[in-house]
């Protein structure tokens, strides 16, 4: 697997700011004090950059001079407080608190990407092992991958109505290709030496797939899963364009209609930050579940 040139590039999906310091980043750290010192410095740099960003934002808001165009950080903060409480008999936004909007979207992302990941895994294994199916199905997967989720959402609404079902379908379809492609590539490029070793020990074809090909593919599959969850995340706003309230994406769409820019920005921050958190959790799970990453 070390010979796979695409891995290092694919291992870092477009998460520009890794908020959670990855434990995988330093498998062989120096002495503990040195590591602590480096960690502190990194945390310091992050806090500083965050403060700088806030300052820039404030500057931009002042320069724009129009809160409907660029709301100030303070206005967004006020909305956070407002949307997290009941005030004047109104509960949060549209009757739901911010965390409830977020929780409902997260639930959709979870179910949708779980379905997509499961289907992508099966499809990927088939694509990676049966050449003629690969020949037929690979263009289809690439085709679906190229479609923006909003494009096929209309079709899903015609087929499944406007409730939960089309939203989950959309997220599942969006999450499927990254996992299918990563799995197919990893299964196809299974280390022949290890497969041969298993066969020499008396493994059946299925044994070899289950005990060698899949575990060997797991690091790449996991990268595919992280990408898939990322895609599901970025598709949730699309999925909630129709009948999306409650839901964080629906909330953003709704606020946009009433030019509540501070709520829009708040919604974006909530989506982005929860995304970072979930990617951090996935990375943590990865180091726990796949300690042999990079050692095949």
């Amino acid at each position: 697997m070390t010979s796979s040139p695409s891995r290092p590039a694919a291992a870092r999906p477009p998460d520009a700011v890794p908020a959670v310091p990855s434990p995988a980043a330093g498998p062989r750290p120096g002495s503990p004090p040195a590591r602590r010192g480096r960690g502190a410095r990194r945390a310091g740099v992050r806090v500083l950059s965050l403060l700088a960003l806030l300052a820039l934002w404030q500057l931009a808001a002042v320069a724009a001079g129009n809160p409907s165009f660029v709301p100030a950080p303070r206005a967004v903060w006020d909305q956070l407080v407002l949307l997290s409480t009941t005030h004047d008999g109104v509960r949060g936004y549209g009757g739901h608190l911010l965390v409830e909007h977020l929780a409902i979207s997260l639930r959709r992302i979870l179910i949708g990407s779980a379905l997509g990941v499961a289907a992508g895994l099966v499809l990927g294994v088939v694509l990676g092992t049966v050449p003629w199916i690969r020949l037929v199905a690979e263009p289809v997967v690439t085709f679906v991958r190229a479609l923006p989720p909003l494009a096929y959402f209309s079709l899903l609404i015609i087929w499944f109505g406007i409730d939960e079902t089309p939203k989950l379908w959309l997220l599942a379809i969006a999450a499927l290709p990254p996992v299918a492609v990563a799995t197919a590539a990893a299964v196809h490029g299974a280390p022949t030496g290890l497969v041969e070793a298993a066969r020499a020990l008396g493994a059946s074809r299925w044994d070899a797939v289950k005990d060698v090909v899949l575990p060997a593919a797991l690091p790449e599959i996991f990268t595919g899963v992280r990408l898939a969850v990322g895609v599901a995340y970025s598709s949730v706003v699309a999925a909630e364009t129709v009948n999306g309230v409650p839901g964080i994406g629906g909330m953003v769409r709704d606020a946009q209609r009433y030019l509540q820019t501070d709520v829009v920005v708040l919604g974006l921050l909530a989506i982005g930050l929860s995304g970072l958190l979930i990617d951090g959790l996935l990375r943590f799970a990865e180091t726990r579940l796949i300690p042999w990453r990079g050692r095949v």
């Binding site: 041969e196 070793a197 066969r199 020990l201 008396g202 005990d211 575990p215 042999w292 050692r295 095949v296």
Partner: protein
């Protein structure tokens, strides 16, 4: 077999050779046209033999081993192990040049998997894993990760794994070539001991004359590609009851080494 380490592996009344090659030729089809890798070659290996195949790199000795393992079918001629056509995973344990251990399993897990493939019931597997590791000189490493043990230890695990199936045949493809000299020597000594204990038929491929003389009960030198038999020699050295350093100091040892060395050089020329 493990309960009677000194009993011969030959059931009474059978005279089927462990390995029999008849007029075997092997040609690889490549981008640059077909390449004759081996033969024609005929070879009969009686049960209990420790056969070492020696030759320069590219002489087809690994090809021969892959044919015996059943990974490849000969272009012409017949290969038989235990009287039947070889199938990978049936009747032969294999040790490769690289350990080829599974990094998602612990050291013990690797051996356990081999026992599972060999059809050993779960309860017995747990009991036999430490036994097998002990047999190749490993203690207290069953719970380690593969990358936490040295290259020499990894190759020991690979040998334990190949022994797990109690197959009548053990095939080794330059298993010590990637190790440092000191580790290699110790593994050679341990393999000689394990082999003498089990009496298992073995085919060992190497390019080292020293290794061939030390390990083999019979040494076959192959010519340059396509590999044919240049020398076929029974090594009359004692298999048991002699310390490795005593063995290496015997005058016969030096004579054999010289003779095989000459043959290898002549075959490579």
């Amino acid at each position: 077999m493990s309960s009677h380490p000194d009993a011969p592996a030959v059931p009474a009344g059978t005279d089927v050779a462990a390995v029999r090659l008849e007029e075997v030729e092997h040609v690889y089809g490549g981008a640059g046209g077909p390449v004759a890798a081996l033969g024609p070659i005929s070879l009969t290996v009686p049960r209990g033999t420790f056969l070492v195949l020696v030759g320069a790199s590219g002489c087809g000795k690994s090809t021969l081993l892959r044919l015996v393992a059943g990974f490849e079918k000969p272009t012409s001629g017949t290969v038989r192990t235990g009287g039947t056509e070889p199938v990978p995973g049936r009747g032969a344990g294999i040790v490769f040049q690289q350990p080829r251990l599974f990094p998602w399993k612990t050291v013990g897990g690797n051996v356990e998997l081999a026992l599972r493939y060999a059809g050993v019931p779960r309860a017995e597997r747990a009991r036999r894993v430490p036994d097998l590791l002990e047999r190749v000189g490993l203690h207290d490493v069953a719970d380690r990760r593969i990358w936490q043990i040295s290259g020499g230890q990894q190759q020991r695990v690979a040998i334990a794994r190949a022994l797990a199936g109690d197959d009548p045949l053990l095939l080794l493809d330059e298993p010590f070539a990637a190790l440092d000299a000191l580790t290699r020597e110790r593994l050679q000594e341990d393999l000689r001991r394990v082999s003498a204990q089990t009496g298992r038929t073995s085919v060992f491929v190497t390019h080292s004359v020293e290794e061939a003389v030390f390990l083999g009960s019979r040494v076959v030198v192959l010519t340059r590609r396509p590999g044919r038999i240049a020398l076929d020699l029974d090594v009359g050295l004692p298999r048991t009851g002699v310390e490795p350093h005593e063995l290496r100091a015997l005058p016969e040892y030096a004579a054999l080494r010289a003779e095989i060395g000459r043959a290898v050089r002549a075959a490579a020329a």
